[in-house]
Symmetry: C2
Subunit: 256 residues, 2 copies
DNA sequence: TCATCCGAATAAGTATGAGTAAATACCCTT
DNA sequence: AAGGGTATTTACTCATACTTATTCGGATGA
């Protein structure tokens, strides 16, 4: 019986909110159960036949989903022993999908803070390298993003897009593949916090502009130390705003 | 016809050199082709029936392999359009498997340097946080690793193991999940460079000891700045040694 | 009583074939 | 020449049969 009822929502790298394949939507569904704590580490899933049937999908689709989650460290399967949820330390938290699934599921305070701590480690160094190594194309990308950021601070989707472009362009300017590979992590974190801030504390949303301009100018001047310092201040401010937004959102929920 | 001929080598997170499942060994084989450049970004693979047959495996096993590599950003499949190698920017370079596969395939100089640049961004910050946040258990782990490092500098496998434990313990002491999630990346990089150095320049292998001791003492003293500084120097020295080892290995290959 | 081996049961792994659905190329019509 | 529809190619899903790995448990022997 085909899975007419199973919505194909939630997903993969390319298209965050829509999974084309059935196996992907199953993977998403399982991932949310795991990350949301409905399926705990150490827990053993029902066997393939049962679980696939209970999801109204074929064993094929179910198994492919399990394979994807195994590839991301969320599950491990052994004959006879069954398929088991891995301890959290084994999860690929920095995998774009895994991270986005976390952000879907009311991430804990501590996890958000930790993401910003990682940004605070990586992005200042990246800005310093960008100041040293950027070429004309990098500078053009950074400039364009900055222009969009300054043009219309009210147009939230455009600002978000420009913000993402700004940070990505800086990583790219490092010419360091491993650092550039952090872009999805930084992008997801940024998107989540900007979207939160827009609804929770719209006014603070524009406060980041001076930082962006400062970072741009430091990179342009090839002043690595200044770029590093301002980026650090920027991320510091961002985590403060994000925590404030979380508090505001919680308070709002409390009074309604 | 079952794949009697296909060796099941190469692989997954748990067991680096042996894949239990056929689909995993297929994934490994494809990954090596892609990362090694035999299959280039943009290139379209033969269709499932053909390619599976040419590997002497069933479509089932082949498809599961493709799913795993898709989950890691190496491939993308669309009906009618076929299965295509993704551009390198989409690869999950920080995924443990992807990274290990890179290190199997004569990684480029630039990539190695970039990994160390990432370490140089993350680990000094991590050391600073560790100095501030470590508890008794963290300190015990760090101490134990240091003791093993100092005990028998000649026993290479033990030293490697202790080195990995040392760096992992520091990350763990940050209590910051996203930073801890960098551990596989750092561990793989470290293992690769230590194994290279052992064969290429055995004598420099012990030079890291003073750094390790210095980092330990700074963390113990909860001196975040010192921990950060010494860690940075440590990684600096490590990349210098690694590049020297690469040069030595190349020279040796040249004269034989 | 304990240890060891062997067999049975269970779960994942692999293979095959049939049929579905989506995307593209091509041809036909206007 | 442009538009739309149809055929084809490809991945996707399903169902089923069979294989292999692992573990549990009981029989056997010391």
């Amino acid at each position: 019986m085909p899975a007419v009822a199973l919505k194909r929502a939630g997903g993969s790298a390319g298209n965050p909110t829509q999974a084309r394949r059935l196996s992907e939507s199953v993977a998403h569904k399982l991932a949310v159960l795991i990350i949301g704590g409905k399926l705990r580490p150490g827990e053993i899933l029902p066997n393939e036949d049962e679980f696939a049937a209970s999801l109204s999908v074929s064993r094929t689709a179910y198994r492919e989903a399990v394979r994807m989650l195994t590839a991301k460290g969320l599950l491990a399967a052994k004959p006879r022993a069954g398929t088991k949820v891995q301890p959290r330390e084994k999860w690929s938290l920095l995998d774009p999908d895994v991270l986005n699934w976390h952000l879907e599921v009311e991430p804990s305070h501590a996890f958000i803070v930790s993401l910003f701590e990682l940004r605070e480690a990586v992005e200042p160094s990246a800005a310093a390298l960008a100041a040293q190594r950027h070429d004309a194309a990098d500078l053009a990308a950074i400039t364009a993003a900055l222009r969009h950021l300054e043009r219309d601070p009210e147009d939230s989707p455009a600002v978000l897009h420009a913000d993402l472009a700004f940070h990505h362009a800086i990583l790219k300017a490092t010419k360091s593949d491993a650092i550039i590979a952090m872009s999805p992590v930084i992008g997801s974190t940024l998107r989540w916090s900007v979207e939160l801030t827009i609804v929770a504390l719209p006014r603070v949303h524009g406060e980041a502009l001076p930082f962006h301009r400062g970072i741009y100018e430091a990179i342009h001047a090839r002043d690595a130390q200044a770029a590093e310092r301002i980026m650090r201040e920027h991320i510091h401010a961002a985590i403060r705003n994000t925590l404030a937004s979380l508090a505001a959102a919680a308070a709002r929920r409390g009074e309604t």
